[in-house]
Amino acid sequence: MQPWPGEVLDERSGEIAVGFAALLTRQAAWRHRRVERITVLSHERVRRHVSVDFTVPESHREELRLSESEWVVPLAYLAKRLLVNFDLFMEDEAAVALLRSDEAQMISRELLYVMLDLDTEDAIEEDIAPLIEWILAAGPAEAEQVDAAVGELEDALGPLPGFSALAAQLTRGFLLCAVLDDVSRRRVVKFAYDQPLARPGRSVHFYDTPGCTQAASYHAEVEVPDEMRARTTDMVDDLTGRVLALGPRDTDRPAIHYVAEADAAARPGLSVSYGAERGRFLVPAAIVAWVIALGLALPWLFADLPALAASPSPAIAILLSSSAIFSGLVLRSGEHPLVRLMLAPYRLCLATSTVAAVLAGGVLAFHGASGTLAWTWGLGSLVAVLSASILTVEAARAPAAARDR
């Protein structure tokens, strides 16, 4: 009678752990390349596409065999938290089976025992078994307690570098294991998932890149939303502030290449500073704001406003109403949510300028007193000039669209 799948895995977990021990302690030796593509879906969410290009060494294929035509391959460590829109595919976009976290735990358990035995042969089973079960079952909130328990074990048995390194990661995460039908050749497995921005923000995003330590070559690229550019793209060690790799400036598809050693003392990540292109909104908005500012400031400085109030000039009415129309044209919507968020303060500037123009025109049209006229037009001029200046400075700072450069 054929055994049930769970029984097969139970029986094979030790042998698979042997293969994992060899593969996971030399990740760059069999994972040729890892590519991460980050797509900014909105100001609150990104989608990360990861592809892992690898060849399982011939000497370890038999160890990873689960059945006649199935092999288990460790792809990554995933954090113990909910995954959103997770997909796993082969080169041809065919879906791939993966071990459930409780199935991967069977292998992880054996792997922990292997690493412990490599560090020391003095461990006492009655002490170790509950700790290993705790490591596998621990939630993120228990990580520090588990670390402390592993520390106490090290105090008793001496340094356990391999076991404690593995225990720390298996407390916080689990092994993502694909079940493949062929490992006799080079394979590419892809996975993708959505991630929220922990702190939604406008211009500078930091993307954690723990995968940069897990292959011989690591590439990351960012799909920037339309009407935006990545002003700078740097691989940075957050712990020291050291720039590990520099990407291109002012591009809509920045890419970076970096390979790091698996070093617990570094926290590499991709720091991307975004900017809205100047041509779509900022330049037209600055022009409109200056038209409004001049339309308010010139009459305030040189015209006899009380006389104009007595017989409102059609020219002024046309000028002010046309300003409002132009503002309406640039106060458009329908953009990428991140572009909308980035441009919100500048839209506010333009709206303020327009409101100042409408108020000044209104006071004139309703024959306001000369003092009220002077104050309204004076303040309106000031607000309009300030708004126009802000928009001009930001338009000058903003990146140009590719075709403008």
Partner: protein
């Protein structure tokens, strides 16, 4: 006000702690363990056999 803040902003002197000053996208992945040295298949198999023998002995004693 945020527009004015952006105009007069100063770039930080160091990128240290840039993660805390940015909108952060955590990875669903975590870094691989920093193992002290590579382990060969033979070493791992021998360790597994020793460990299983100890576990069997402990379970037998219990």
């Amino acid at each position: 006000m945020s527009a004015l803040r952006r105009i007069f902003r100063r770039e930080p002197e160091s990128l240290k702690g840039i993660r805390d000053r940015s909108a952060v996208v955590r990875s669903a992945e975590i870094a691989g363990p920093a193992f002290p040295r590579p382990v060969s298949g033979e070493e791992a198999r021998a360790a597994l056999e020793r460990s299983r023998a100890r576990r069997a002995a402990a379970n037998g004693a219990a």
